[in-house]
Amino acid sequence: MLKVHRDTRNPDPSSPLAIRGLSVSYGEKPALFSVDLTIAPQSMTAIIGPNGAGKSTLLKAVLGTVPRLAGQVSIFGRALASERHRIAYVPQRASVDWDFPADVRDVVLMGLYRQSGLLRRITRADEAVAEDALARVGMQDFRNRQIGQLSGGQQQRVFLARALAQNADLYLLDEPFAGVDAATETAIIAVLKKLKDAGKTVVAVHHDLSTVADYFDHVVMINTRLIAEGEIGTTFTPKNLQDTYGGRLMTAQIDRLREAGLH
């Protein structure tokens, strides 16, 4: 009889996000191969790796939006289906058409869908939640602005506000700093740090190696396979970077990173 291999190691139930043996492929090409990782509670974790390493795919596989070939994902020790309400996802800004006929308020209210459902009217309490989320990202003055008229940074803040309105425990962000201005980057990182201080967990796909050590306390380094995971101090090392990026990361760049605070 054919015996299916199952990973019997139990994922840590205290971890907001634990992955065992996750493999995903697009057609013939594997995008992720047998990835194990355990995100620490109340951490801010950066997922880094070269282009095509499977960073975004990892988030999508966690959310079940790309099919898994194999592997288990547990959210706070349970299956995704029962814990979905505890996750807020911020997709890449470039993944949507900002010419969509909606204003800032409309987009943030989408974050309340799980409470409002199909037909329940939007209440004052809902409006207050949306208003609060906008205030936290500094966008309260833009509530009636058409989303296509916002700058890239403002659009990214609106996406973050929509996730904040969900009042989740685990935040998954896909390249939240891509194409945003410096002020927005500072504003976003401040919001994320406050989330962490409030006991939430933040996981972000990140591409700017020079800010990893400043912004995050944990790092996951992947290149189709998991290369390393853990605290910045012990994990974000030149050797692991070399293993993750291969020849694509020049020694000079690593030196610059070292000056920027890399240990």
């Binding site: 996802y89 997709p91 006929p101 989408m110 459902g117």
Partner: protein, 305 residues
């Protein structure tokens, strides 16, 4: 024009045109926003083979057989487009073009070969419909609207279209939020646990329902025009989705009413003898409205991202 002339000869075709136009314009808004306007085109083409096959199986022009046949054909074309996209990696637009022209051509062949063409189904009817012939001869004037005996002889297309319009409106109201969220940001909608593939398929099915009920009365020219023109024109008038839907309904009504009247009387006003096809005129008017909105619409500026 007196009620005694207007009610029997013009009221029902105008109402049928209006209902058909609105039924198509409503799902059309979402098709256009999802960059699937071509899907509306595809659906209205595959309705033809669906109706013919429905007729061949049941041997009747029963509306339900046609509706089921068309829905099956629409479902088949959506699945076929998806399968070909997965295995061939050809661009989606090209696949849609191939699938719907092939199925439409197959429908024409089936129609010619079968005895379906001897009854009420024929190629010209499929293209242009027969809006002008959907008159209400029993009507004696406005009072007939309250006369049960006269009402019983209404063209059956009218209550059928009214029913499907109510159904489409109801579905859109109930699923408004999931439709809006998944149309704007599918990845996010999926992260909320919304069944985005089912929503997308449901939208196509609603479009198929609109196409098949409208097709029977007004032909595929209007169906194709009404899926795209009112919604695209409405987008140029407003930056709010709910307002866009209302504008599209206004444009759909305007096209249907103006188109019908101009087709019937316009040629005589400028000295020609014969009326022209109402379906053709309605579609032309909807295109003109889109053109006017493209030039003068308040929200037509290209946006910066």
């Amino acid at each position: 024009m007196s009620g005694a002339e207007f009610v029997p000869l013009s009221l029902t075709p105008i109402l049928i045109g209006v209902f058909a136009a609105i039924s198509c314009a409503l799902p059309g808004n979402f098709l256009v926003l999802r960059k699937q306007a071509l899907m509306g085109d595809a659906i209205s083409h595959v309705v033809l083979p669906g109706i013919v096959v429905g007729f061949l199986i049941t041997r009747s022009l029963d509306a339900w057989a046609m509706l089921l046949g068309a829905a099956a054909a629409a479902l088949f074309s959506v699945v076929a487009i998806d399968v070909i996209r997965r295995i061939s990696r050809i661009e989606t637009g090209a696949i849609m073009g191939v699938v719907f022209t092939t199925l439409f051509a197959l429908g024409v062949l089936l129609l010619e070969q079968s005895d379906a063409s001897s009854v009420h189904l024929d190629v010209e009817h499929a293209l242009m419909g027969n809006l002008e012939s959907l008159i209400w001869l029993e009507a004696r004037g406005w009072s007939s609207l309250l006369d049960p005996k006269a009402l019983a002889s209404l063209p059956p297309e009218l209550p059928r279209l009214a029913l499907s319009l109510v159904l489409i409106l109801g579905l859109m109201l109930i699923f408004w939020r999931p439709l809006k969220i998944s149309t704007f940001d599918e990845g996010y909608a999926e992260s909320l646990g919304l069944p985005v593939r089912a929503i997308s398929l449901g939208l196509v099915m609603v479009a198929a329902l609109a196409a098949v009920t409208a097709f029977d009365a007004v032909g595929s020219i209007i169906v194709i025009a009404m899926f795209i023109c009112p919604a695209a024109a409405a987008r140029l008038m407003t930056d709010r989705l709910s307002a866009q839907i209302w504008w599209s309904v206004v444009f759909a009504c305007l096209s249907a009413i103006l188109g019908y009247i101009l087709a019937g009387y316009g040629p005589m006003w400028i000295g020609f003898d014969h009326a022209v096809s109402a379906a053709g005129m309605i579609a032309t008017i909807s295109g003109l409205i889109l053109g006017i909105c493209a030039v003068f619409g308040p929200k037509r500026q290209a946006r910066t991202g």
